[in-house]
Subunit: 259 residues, 2 copies
């Protein structure tokens, strides 16, 4: 069965896009048929992997706003070997307003993904990059997904946001999507020289009910540079600490039991 | 006249909260009567400055959702000398949905701030911390403010977001708030050892139409630690590079011409 994984945290700048892109690329490199969906109007994940100047076709905005648009029309095939992409665009930001009065607004993504769950497109993994908000795009994502990975930056404000997200996931699971479960938390932007990173890491491991992956994504400037070259960390600097961390994380994710 | 300044950037984790808190504290310390408004449902700015265990009264959620609640009922006076705070709470996140059908939804904050602009409460500066989104809370902020400071993280994804925000500000200025103007951009989280920081800083200074403040906020772990002690950077480590940068920024902000 296809693992449809939301990469979610409503706190900004915690490494959601970095994780979605690099985990998708590594699983694809390991032979898993992977689809990366960019559901953030800022389209950072799209910008990261897709070279500038690539002609823009339809985006996830069209997929959510136009009932007649199909997944097949939007998908960019072979962005990397084994990796397809559903690109985002800024027009996705009007989504919240335009769908606000549609009674089926939270099911838009789920319906379009039937091409995968019930149809002819088969993927092993689908990863969904989300914006820093608990609004309509997040609700669509949690309604359509069966798993959630939560990147948690090892800085002071991390815990509050996680608790609120867990409550939102619980509500979606109870009301509309019983298959939704948290695959785990990933500690990100870890700076082992600082006490605050170590303190937050211990606090998260100690207090959170879900699994916290053993792999920690370190602060590594190579990760910040790779997007400007439109290369995954493996293409840009395969020997870097960032690349090594994502290889380890991919192994852990592959080892996740089906819930 | 009161300077009502939105601290805005829809990109997450670029230092909005850090800037709002520390700039408010420094201007208050210099003798300016200052009000800090937390308009982010994640309430990081509130958490930063207000000690845990302080009894929670009303929040900006009540101010926006309840027409009968006044500014006076919500304000926490004397959070620091010369500094008052309008605290946020998680209940602000239901705001977008609950106000969606209210025809006057974008004027809620502006009306409540009349207690300052037309009434008896006088402040020299009002700073508004905003969430990473261009939704209803941002529209309320831009409708009520007369100035905008845009923190820009010196990393690859910085420029796209700035352009979209500039367009939003322009639209609000033309349609409903002619007094709205950008005071300037502040380069944040600058790491002078990395090429990417220097490249993004040059690009922003070279391409952006508005003023870019000379002061740059450096990456400084003391800034990341201060919130966990509920102290401004000046209380926590007045000799740090972060504290020195915010003192310089406060001088530049005081020197801003009235538009
Ligand atoms: N481990 C890391 N080391 C160094 N830089 C990183 C790391 N992870 C991410 N970055 C950089 O930090 C910035 C924020 O990361 P990213 O965009 O992945 O966060 P996000 O959670 O997707 O943000 P948003 O909430 O705005 O979508 C980006 O410029 C990214 O390249
Ligand atoms: N110059 C800096 N050096 C080191 N750490 C910083 C710096 N500025 C901010 N931080 C830390 O980085 C994290 C993100 O900063 P902050 O919360 O101010 O960003 P934000 O733009 O308000 O994020 P959001 O979009 O989620 O509201 C916080 O943990 C903060 O303490
Ligand atoms: Mg992102
Ligand atoms: Mg903030």
């Amino acid at each position: 069965a296809t693992r449809i994984v939301a990469v979610a945290n409503q706190k900004g700048g915690v490494g959601k896009t970095d994780l979605t892109v690099n985990l998708s690329c590594q699983l694809a490199a390991l032979g898993k048929r992977t689809l990366m969906i960019d559901l953030d109007p800022q389209a950072n994940a799209t910008d990261y992997l897709v070279s500038p100047g690539t002609p823009a076709g339809k985006s996830t905005a069209d997929l959510l706003l136009d009932d007649s648009v199909t997944l097949d029309e939007v998908v960019m095939e072979g962005c990397r070997e084994n990796l397809d992409v559903l690109p985002s665009s800024q027009s996705l930001s009007s989504c919240q307003i335009r769908l606000a009065n549609d009674i089926n607004m939270q099911f838009k993504l789920k319906k379009k993904l039937r091409a995968i769950t019930e149809g002819s497109r088969s993927y092993d993994y689908v990863f969904i990059d989300t914006p820093p908000s608990l609004g309509l795009l997040m609700v669509n994502t949690l309604t359509a997904a069966n798993g959630v990975i939560i990147p948690v930056q090892t800085q002071y404000f991390a815990m509050d946001g996680v608790v609120q997200l867990q409550e939102t996931i619980k509500k979606v699971r109870e009301d509309i999507n019983p298959s939704l479960h948290v695959l785990g938390l990933v500690l990100t932007m870890y700076d082992r020289r600082t006490l605050i990173s170590r303190e937050v890491a211990e606090k998260v491991r100690g207090e959170v009910g879900e699994r916290v992956f053993s792999t920690v994504i370190p602060v590594n400037v190579r990760l910040a540079q790779a997007p400007s070259h439109h290369k995954s960390i493996f293409e840009y600097d395969p020997g870097s600490s960032g690349a090594r961390a994502y290889r380890e994380l991919a192994k852990e994710v592959l080892g996740c039991p089906d819930a």
